[in-house]
């Protein structure tokens, strides 16, 4: 008799939305339980207290809520920038570098032109320069991908490090004071090139800009011709070519958009909140953005949720580490474990697992 496998896996055609969310929520709860057990075993702390500290660390004060929103805004901006590229199956791992180049562009304008021209014009030039810088950093790998099918995953990855070194170079060129090895706050006395405060908070303008961009990206990807073309290219390049879509043009156009939006994220960091330039300004959001975009199935509206989840974990665990004097990387471990569970639970959304029925029935 032939052996019948115990488990049979088949692809799901469709899944009801509440079932999908139930699976995701179960995965997150399981991940939190596992994280709790690991916390208890390694540190001896009460996991429930740890989670309470996380929630307090994220929502505890008005300032913390602002910080939460600001962090979500920047991460979301990079995630919506990466989403169209991923939908096209172009693995843009260069979000870090593109955002950093945008930041470099904005900082360069602030330093070189600050106080020489009216503030309104200065900010306008900052916007243009940082968008162009981000777009250039993205379009270089895109051209090679479109023309010679060069591996974009590694190309964009390497561009990150080139950008970091370029920023490190300019940080030393512009260092204040000489020999400090850092730029410090740019135009601290004149505030030239600083974005105007809206509603008395330096964070609100960034949040509004990103909210508008998110909605625009949702419409672009879902309802525009461009959005349709890039999803066809992502599904099947031969099909796209057959129906007359110019694949090369779509790749380059989408990557210009992707890089430009990453540049905007850099601009918001330099012009809006931080007013400085360091090599760690973007702090790995280009990579986190990949996961945010992917977990949300490239839907900009869902990305608000996924970026909230990630930022909550990072800010919350930052709070635990100061409260219990643990190393601050604890948050990365928790984030990693939760990501493993969410990544893993996708399987149960896409596939149906059925167990072998009893032998009599089979026979």
């Amino acid at each position: 008799m032939n052996r019948i496998p115990l488990i049979h896996i088949s692809r799901r055609k469709d899944i009801v939305w509440y079932k999908a969310w139930l699976i995701r929520i179960i995965a997150i709860i399981l991940a939190l339980v596992l994280c709790g057990i690991i916390t208890m075993v390694t540190t001896g702390l009460n996991p429930i207290k740890v989670y309470a500290a996380m929630i307090d660390g994220t929502f505890g004060t008005t300032r913390r809520i602002w910080m939460l929103c600001q962090n979500i805004a920047i991460l979301l901006c990079i995630s919506i920038a990466l989403a169209p590229a991923f939908k096209m199956r172009f693995w843009n791992l260069g979000g870090d570098g593109q955002a950093l180049m945008g930041a470099l562009g904005a900082a360069a304008v602030m330093i070189l032109l600050g106080d020489k021209i009216p503030n309104g014009l200065l900010i306008l030039i900052m916007v243009v320069v940082s968008i162009v810088c981000g777009a250039i950093w993205a379009v270089i790998p895109a051209v090679f991908k479109a023309r010679w099918n060069t591996n974009e995953t590694l190309f964009t990855l390497m561009m990150n490090y080139v950008a970091i070194q370029l920023v490190a170079f300019f940080v030393i060129v512009w260092e204040v004071p000489k020999g400090a090895g850092k730029i410090g706050i740019i135009n601290q006395n004149t505030n030239a090139g600083w974005f105007p405060q809206v509603g008395g908070s330096k964070y609100l303008l960034n949040i509004i800009i990103v909210a508008v961009l998110t909605i625009a990206m949702f419409i672009y990807m879902k309802y525009s011709k461009h959005g349709y073309e890039l999803s066809v290219v992502g599904e099947s390049e031969p099909t796209a070519r057959y129906v007359g879509i110019k694949v090369r043009k779509v790749i380059i156009r989408t990557m210009v958009l992707s890089g430009a939006l990453c540049g905007v994220a850099g601009l918001l960091l330099v012009g809006g909140t931080d007013h400085t330039l360091t090599t760690t300004l973007v702090s790995g959001r280009g990579f986190t953005g990949v996961m945010v975009a992917w977990l949300a199935k490239f839907n900009p509206i869902y990305m608000v949720l996924t970026s909230f989840l990630i930022v909550f974990l990072q800010r919350g665990s930052g709070e635990i580490t100061t409260a219990y004097s643990l190393n601050q990387s604890y948050g990365d471990i928790i984030t990693g474990i939760i990501l493993f569970f969410i990544i893993g639970c996708e399987f149960f959304l896409n596939y149906k697992v059925s167990f072998r029925k009893s032998h009599k029935e089979v026979a």
């Binding site: 896996i9 010679w148 060069t150 591996n151 590694l154 080139v162 030393i172 984030t335 990501l339 990544i343």
Partner: protein, 331 residues
């Protein structure tokens, strides 16, 4: 000039060894069609697991009573175990659960780097030991023991024999991997799995088993790179984020060597040299220029990437199913 090379080459080699481990491990993994971007994380985990093992051993037995054999064996086994677990996580997610490989790899890197830095920063507090910092000098002595007669052989000894046993292990791994992948039936079947899993499946090869074994062995080899870095290169001192972006460079090296492990021997030494080139180039007081020199390994990788795609030779291409999950019923 000769004097310069005499001091430059040994340093380039010891920079290159972690990259060599990483590149060989990643090549083995990629030959099975798995693009493991978690290598950076795996190398951190490998390093810190070795540190945890030897730290517990050093503090429990006391530095005087340490046995050289156990002093090497314990960190080695811990490192291999830690990397193996990382490899298993990756395989379970991407092979069994068919998750996206890039996302899984990035999550592994987040987890692995966090794991390394967390235990590196909190190990002393967690274990309640009475030491100011993690400095495993005794274990490091075992690991960096060199051939006793290397010094007597002048320049030859300095360039070829002045390394520890893990360095030679890396070279041996590269050669063994190359022979197995390209000259044995096992390697042929592995490559078949990476090129076309459905064909391999039809030929009766167990695709899942090959993917699991190749990825886990690859992860363990990569993990050794982390161990070498802490125990030998950094003389047993763990400092957070010190390992840096070497994991990503190792992935770049796989492309640089066009998926041939034997080539990673010279290529990783070359990259090691590029990595430290900025120290040797005289730039006077202009510190900024040094930052630009540090771009060298990345720019070289990009150029190689472009050239391999321009020449577009069939034997220089990545495994055809690289990055894709395999589901038998999806044909």
């Amino acid at each position: 000039m000769f004097g310069f090379l005499l001091s430059f080459i040994p340093r380039a080699v010891s920079q290159g060894i972690p990259l060599m481990f990483g590149a060989v491990g990643e090549t083995i993994t990629e030959k099975s069609g798995n693009l493991n971007l978690g290598t950076a994380g795996i190398m951190y985990v490998g390093g810190i697991c070795g540190v945890i093992g030897s730290f517990l051993y050093e503090t429990k037995t006391g530095i005087e009573n340490m046995n050289a054999f156990l002093g090497i064996l314990i960190p080695l086994v811990c490192c291999l175990l830690g990397s193996l677990i990382m490899g298993l996580i990756y395989c379970f997610l991407t092979v069994t659960l068919r998750a996206n490989q890039n996302v899984t790899g990035l999550a592994m890197t987040t987890f692995g780097v966090g794991f390394g830095n967390f235990f590196g920063g909190s190990l002393i507090k967690l274990s309640g030991a009475d030491v100011p910092s993690i400095a495993l000098s005794r274990t490091s002595q075992f690991f960096s023991a060199k051939l006793p007669f290397a010094k007597d052989l002048g320049w030859f000894g300095q360039i070829f024999l002045s390394y520890s046993f893990l360095a030679y292990t890396a070279v041996a791994m590269a050669i063994i991997a190359s022979v197995v992948i390209f000259h044995t039936k096992l390697g042929l079947q592995l490559r078949a799995v990476g090129e076309s899993p459905s064909t391999a499946d039809a030929a009766g090869i167990n695709v899942t088993r090959y993917k699991y074994f190749a990825t886990c062995i690859g992860a363990m080899v990569s993990g050794l790179g982390g161990l070498y870095y802490v125990m030998d290169y950094a003389s047993g001192v763990w400092s957070n984020d010190a390992f840096g972006d070497r994991g990503w460079l190792a992935i770049a090296l796989v492309i640089f060597t066009i998926w041939r492990p034997a080539h990673s021997i010279w290529a990783s030494i070359l990259f090691g040299g590029l990595y430290i080139l900025h120290i040797f180039i005289p730039s006077g007081t202009n510190l900024a220029i040094k930052e630009l020199y540090q771009m060298a390994p990345y720019v070289v990788t990009i150029i190689v990437l472009i050239f391999t795609s321009l020449r577009n030779k069939r034997e220089n291409q990545p495994p055809a199913s690289l990055g894709l999950s395999y589901f038998r019923e999806d044909r």
